[in-house]
Symmetry: C2
Subunit: 159 residues, 2 copies
Amino acid sequence: VTTEEKLCSATLQSWNQVITRADRKLLPLTDEQLQQPIAPGRNRVIYLLGHLTAVHDRMIPLLRLGDRLHPELDAAFITNPDRTVDLPLSASELKEAWKQVNEVLTKAMSELTPEAWLERHSAISEEDFAKEPHRNRLTILLSRTNHASFHLGQIILTH
Amino acid sequence: VTTEEKLCSATLQSWNQVITRADRKLLPLTDEQLQQPIAPGRNRVIYLLGHLTAVHDRMIPLLRLGDRLHPELDAAFITNPDRTVDLPLSASELKEAWKQVNEVLTKAMSELTPEAWLERHSAISEEDFAKEPHRNRLTILLSRTNHASFHLGQIILTH
């Protein structure tokens, strides 16, 4: 195992750790518990579950790993705030989508080489990437891991 | 710049990004705003500021980068829950400690080579590290970056 591979695997391990913690908190919640807001007047847990699922689903094409699985989530969980749009999936369907998206994504990411991690993500052109090489796949993984931790800190506030 | 160096610099950049976001949220808060709980009955913002400062201060010896600067923070911000111990520093002193700790830590981390990032942290013996090589400095950096994101997600809930 090379130094590069160890560095990449530590980063993937950090992602897996956050997903595992989120699984442990989110998957046992009842439909009623998912309806709770994280604080009075704030997002409901189900909104954050859908939001994280949609953001992770978008990572699949963003990391150039294939087509996303659940484009129907964006209107309810990314484009619009909580409580303004009918949810496209039930609570149990949403939990299934969450598990499925993370599984497909994590498997595809585990096959990337260190050099592939430093290649561009799909939201930047090859021309711009030549000037801004930090806009690579690894930066996306690190920022999405932080994003999941950020919302997990909020979800954890509910009982 | 080698592949290893690019991978490490992406990880440090992710840490810097979270610290910068925390600075932007925390440093402009008034003493009164720092007294707000993140949600009814939960930790106050000042507790989380002290908690993050203490945890980052402990990273200095944990990463074997020198002596910590503020051991006096642990009783009020790590060992005990909020509102049970008198705070050892005023709000403005705490903001100064936060900035100072992150500055010293970030500077020392920026000088580590990729190989040094994969060396053991100080809470594991050389003997155990031979069996568990993932318990290295980089894993600490990744987990503390997630930890800061986690609490930032909570702090952001206050107005």
